[in-house]
């Protein structure tokens, strides 16, 4: 379902070239739960950003459902992000001026879903992550764990096939981490592909497959 081909990302730091990703070839099957682990700076997040169409590679390609994403227009990429992928950030990245309900409904807003429908669905998603009583709170009024659950609900709002988590438990306590892990596992059981970058050995243990990265390369 997702395949990278010699995926390379080079950052320029003055005169030096730093390979964040170096010829990464990775294949992820539909319905898989895959954890990518590795030390900081090994390129895990960069890889996720490429798969999630949030960043463009220096060379190489990402194929999603057989489509070469490098050949897509700006709007084409936006469509993939909107419809196929739900992205969960370590920093949550919620819009602070909007309440939980509106944050969850935002991807549906950009998909042109009618207001009543998107608010109904957002409410349902928040109830599912256990935030039925926090819908009208704004992110600054919520704990890290609550914010991350809002972010998960938001990632699911356009019913994506792929859920990508970049250290989703990195900024929450252990108990919330477990809850989030349960949710991710549940999503995988529903048939979604779940790709997670983590330091968390627990997640790695519960994932169906684990890939290790170092110095921009995926180790076998």
């Amino acid at each position: 379902m997702i395949r990278t081909e010699n995926l390379t990302k080079v950052y320029r730091m003055g005169d030096a070239e730093v390979y964040a990703l170096h010829d990464v070839n990775l294949e992820i099957q539909e319905g898989e739960f895959i954890a990518i682990i590795g030390p900081s700076g090994s390129g895990k997040s960069t890889l996720l950003n490429m798969i999630g169409c949030l960043d463009t590679p220096t060379s190489g390609a990402v194929f999603i459902d057989g489509i070469d994403t490098g050949k897509l227009s700006e709007n084409g990429l936006a469509e993939i992000r909107r419809k196929k992928i739900g992205f969960i950030f370590q920093q949550f990245n919620l819009v602070h001026t909007l309440n939980a309900l509106e944050n969850v409904a935002l991807p549906m807003f950009f998909a042109g879903v009618r207001r009543e429908i998107r608010l109904d669905r957002a409410e349902e998603l928040l109830v599912n992550v256990g935030l039925g009583d926090r819908m009208h709170h704004k992110p600054p009024e919520m704990s890290g764990g609550q914010q991350q659950r809002v972010a998960i609900a938001r990632a699911l709002s356009n019913d994506p096939e792929v859920v990508i988590g970049d250290e989703p438990t990195g900024n929450v306590d252990t108990e919330t981490g477990n809850t989030i892990l349960d949710i991710l596992e549940g999503l995988n059981k529903e048939g979604r592909t779940v790709i997670v970058v983590t330091h968390d050995a627990e997640i790695a243990a519960r994932a169906g497959r684990t890939k290790r990265m170092r110095d921009g390369k995926v180790l076998d």
């Binding site: 950003n49 999630g52 949030l54 960043d55 463009t56 700006e74 709007n75 936006a78 469509e79 992000r81 909107r82 419809k83 992205f87 950030f89 990245n93 919620l94 819009v95 001026t97 909007l98 509106e102 935002l106 991807p107 549906m108 807003f109 950009f110 998909a111 042109g112 879903v113 009618r114 207001r115 429908i117 998107r118 669905r121 938001r154 990632a155 709002s157 356009n158 019913d159």
Partner: protein, 406 residues
Amino acid sequence: MVIKGVKQIPMIDKFLLAYRSIRERRTRSILTVLGIAVGIAAIVSLMSVGYGMEEAITGELTGMADMISVVPGKITGHAYVELGSFTDRDVKDVQRISGIKDITAMTYDAVEVEYRNKRAPIFVLGGDTKELGGFYVEPVGIKEGRWLRENDFKGCVIGDRVANDFFDEVIHVNDKLIINGEKFIVVGVFEKASTMYAADVDPHIFLTLRASQEVLQTDEVKYIMVRIYDLEEAEGIAEEIEERINDNHGLDDFAMAMTMGSMIEQIGDVFNIIRGVLVGIAAIALVVASIGIMNTMLMSVMERTHEIGVMKAIGAKSSDVLSLFLLESSMVSLVGGMVGCVLGVVAAKVISLGAGTALGIEFGAVVKPEVLLGGMAVAMIVGVLSGFYPARKASRMSPVEAVRYE
């Protein structure tokens, strides 16, 4: 479950989200609106005060434009040299010129005037009461009492400065003045005259023709005022007046007939300077306003680069994000422009009132619709463009880059 969306986000939805975003950042939004408003207020107030000044000057000039004043003398350098006086024949000849509506012949001289044992030299002006009244009473106005009647041989009407400035005590109606040894009763006091009439009315005492001839011990006509029908003919009539009187006296340069048009020309330079200053002020206000608006708008959108990144990361098209921010910018700019117009009008009124009081002249700010519209246009154009620029820049970044931006 598959969530179906439409291709386009409904406008009302965008509008609501933009409005919500403005409202939630209340402090930021108010500051941005004020930033724009101050700039627009500067433009509106300065232009309105400027137009007010211009109108104060042109208004009076056009109010007097149908008048020609004729004096028996000429201006050499900066001084007026009197060459004699007019005769009855001069007055009659001038009266016969076609195109003349009213004419009044006056005699005047400076004499000693006494009020409550204080003495001062004051110009006394005498003429036909009806004619004289026709020239001065309506435009200047009587503050106290009434204008002279033909048989008011012992009555006088005084100008504002005579009443208030020339003696220690203020003179009122029914007070007695001794003019060149003769007793007179004040029957009326003029209002303070506006700039163009001030020299003619404020420092003078007005008498009936007979009384002035007695007091001044002369029946010489020293000043003829003419009012004409058609402004276009002013210069022609003025020349004809000069010719006829000069013929009567056998001199080339005896009479000088001044139209208000020629006076306007004389102060035309001053006028051009005022205009130039106005344009300069407007230009400066425009630049200052634009820079201020750009600054506030750029900052308020730039600090939301992260938010733009988040929107893109969850699947917003660049064009959708841009249109959201454009909507927001235009709403803020519109409100800023309106607030600016209101503040500008208020400021203009206050400034013109203060300046008028300080300079002792009367003028009000003139608020022209085109200035208000221009102010709104500046707010909208500069505001929207300077909101658009950083929004476009942010929406062109990759989502990762924009999300990282702090």
